[in-house]
């Protein structure tokens, strides 16, 4: 640092000179990345006739917004969106209660068999979902939960990845604060509730973000357990429209846009949390 003044000039120039090339490359890459969205948006505003025109038009002749209402008539889009939101929120609430408690327990309590239990739990994380789906389906079936919201929410509350994430987080919290609370006479629960929980907020936000991503994108499980169109989440509802009998792309694109939008908006608002979460854990999304 102290030597910097003599050196910076030459080195800095070496480091910064070809920036316009860097920007050119990045711009091209970014345009490639977002062009599908632009095409999607453009198509969602075309009439059906225009959408099948050869060669295709890039900008719609005139903006045909009706596709955005047609999608609600073709499929029960509103209730599907409701299911996706309810399932996402339901899971997050359940996880924040169940996982936060368990993660804290594993991070701070001493009890017989603790390490063994945690190891068994971790091994679940290594197992691909497909291995569990058939018995999970059987359980949901025997509970009479097929085609209901609990089928989408309950099994996913017990999320090992989330447990691992939050336990790691609790381990990074300084022990001294909790010890001080204990010494001042607060019990385990009191300490947890009024000292630990407020500090755990960043960890819980990361958990909620991952859960939200996972839930919004999920297809296989809801596809298997849900059968009524008006109870399906959007992912399943849109996926079932793929059949060749329905190729009204403007309507499909309107639906896709509406399905993407909420999560993208959440992301733009919580951008920093998303990126930090992925960068530190790799994300299971």
């Amino acid at each position: 640092m102290s030597r910097k003044p003599e050196r910076t000039d030459g080195v800095e120039r070496k480091f910064t000179k070809p920036k316009y090339l860097v920007h050119l490359t990045l711009l091209v890459a970014v345009i490639v990345m977002i062009s599908p969205y632009l095409w999607q948006l453009a198509t969602s505003l075309k009439t059906f006739e225009e959408s099948v025109q050869v060669p295709p038009t890039t900008i719609p002749d005139d903006f045909y917004f009706e596709n955005y209402s047609t999608i609600f008539e073709v499929i029960p889009f509103a209730s599907m969106m409701g299911t996706t939101i309810a399932m996402t929120v339901g899971r997050i609430i359940g996880q924040l209660v169940v996982i936060t408690l368990a993660a804290y327990g594993f991070a701070r309590f001493e009890f017989p068999g603790k390490n063994l239990i945690f190891l068994v739990f971790l091994s679940v994380m290594m197992v691909p979902d497909e291995l569990l789906i058939i018995p999970q389906y059987e359980i949901i079936q025997s509970l009479g939960w097929l085609d209901t919201l609990p089928a989408l929410i309950v099994p996913r509350i017990f999320w090992v990845f989330g447990l691992f994430l939050l336990r790691q987080f609790f381990l990074t919290l300084p022990l001294e604060i909790e010890e001080a609370a204990r010494i001042d006479g607060a019990g385990r629960f009191r300490t947890f509730w009024s000292v630990v929980l407020p500090l755990a907020k960043p960890g819980m936000i990361t958990l909620a973000i991952f859960s939200c991503l996972f839930s919004w994108k999920e297809l296989l499980w809801p596809l298997i357990v849900m059968s009524s169109p008006d109870k399906m989440p959007v992912s399943v509802g849109l996926a079932t429209l793929r059949g060749s009998f329905f190729v009204d792309y403007p309507v499909l694109m309107a639906g896709s846009t509406l399905a993407m939008l909420p999560l993208i908006l959440v992301f733009i608002f919580l951008q920093r949390h998303f990126i930090e979460g992925i960068a530190t854990t790799g994300g299971k999304a």
Binding site: I34, S35, A102, F109, V120, K217
Partner: protein, 313 residues
């Protein structure tokens, strides 16, 4: 305040043995309350299913419902089922194509890691967008882009006088097309992880090698890349695990009746078909086990091979 702590601390310490046991007991009680719900749920919905799938893989769905023990029959069938191996090949192919995107991610991450880069946040957000996009919706968009007649990709190709193919109806081509979507979907996530890794490369090291006369390419090759290998390794591992389980893109992009579907279904698609379309649960359980074994072996192999190319400080 200070005197109070001075009094409490020693008292606590002196009672460690007598009170310690009592405390441990109370700890166990608290642990049951804290960990109980999770343990119960995990046992019901994850641990028990694991055991149950293993059991199911040795059974057949009986004619009148219920299961019928058939020994190794499902596994014998597995070995002789060319559809399984075909589907595995497709999954490997898809994984291979997505892995080819990692060098692109590395280049992008390095470019984004420039000191004081303008519009960094903007670039990051745009690269990351597919990661927060519902894959089903994205797959529908790409179906349109790939459309042989009025799709955007063939339209662009036509500018160069190329008569583009019908991407999604030809077996080999369909896999490549879907693989490209996979690269697009995962690139942002890979870039973010690599970018975090790059931030750990000490700038002083790069600057001193620059003073020693290394050009940008040499600095990348001999300083940045070796230090980035742990992050690259991590990206490769999670990409392989994720891609081997790909289902949604094939499900959405290749509708039933598509001539390419039969030879482009992935192993998880085949699992879904066997288990939940044909309702052959026992056989599907065996397929799931095969998949798990393959994922385990591949991951273990990567951890073993990492010694050859991953540098840890």
């Amino acid at each position: 305040m200070t005197t109070e702590t001075q009094v409490t601390v020693p008292r606590n310490l002196s009672l460690v043995t007598a009170k310690g046991r009592k405390r441990k007991k109370r700890d166990t009680l608290a642990a049951i309350i804290f960990i109980g719900p999770m343990t119960l749920g995990l046992s019901i919905f994850y641990l028990w299913p694991l055991v149950r799938t293993f059991f199911l893989s040795f059974t057949k769905w009986g004619a009148f419902g219920g299961t019928e023990f058939t020994g190794l029959e499902n596994y014998e069938r597995l070995i002789n089922d060319s559809d399984v191996w075909q589907a595995l090949l497709v999954s490997f192919g898809y994984t291979g194509i997505v892995l080819l995107g990692i060098p692109v991610a590395i280049v992008m991450a390095v470019l984004l890691n420039q000191k004081n880069l303008k519009w960094l946040t903007g670039y990051r957000v745009l690269f990351f967008l597919p990661v927060v996009t519902m894959p089903v919706a994205a797959a529908l968009v790409w179906r349109l882009l790939y459309n042989g007649r009025y799709g955007a990709i063939n339209y662009i190709l036509s500018w160069f006088g190329i008569d583009g193919p019908s991407w999604l109806t030809q077996p080999g081509l369909a896999l490549v097309a879907i693989g490209i979507v996979g690269v697009w979907l995962l690139l942002g996530q890979q870039i973010i992880i690599l970018l975090a890794g790059l931030q750990g490369v000490p700038r002083t090291l790069l600057e001193s090698s620059a003073i020693d006369g290394a050009n940008a390419v040499q600095r990348f090759r001999y300083v940045t890349l070796p230090l980035l290998t742990p992050s690259i390794f991590f990206v490769v591992v999670i990409t392989v695990i994720g891609c081997l389980q790909m289902f949604d893109l094939v499900f959405v992009m290749l509708e039933p009746g598509n001539p390419a579907l039969a030879s482009t279904k992935t192993i998880v698609y085949y699992f879904y078909q066997v288990g939940f379309v044909y309702n052959d649960r026992g056989y599907a359980a065996a397929i799931a086990f095969l998949l798990m074994v393959i994922i385990f072996i591949l991951t273990a192999l990567q951890f073993r091979l990492q010694k050859r190319w991953v540098h840890y400080e």
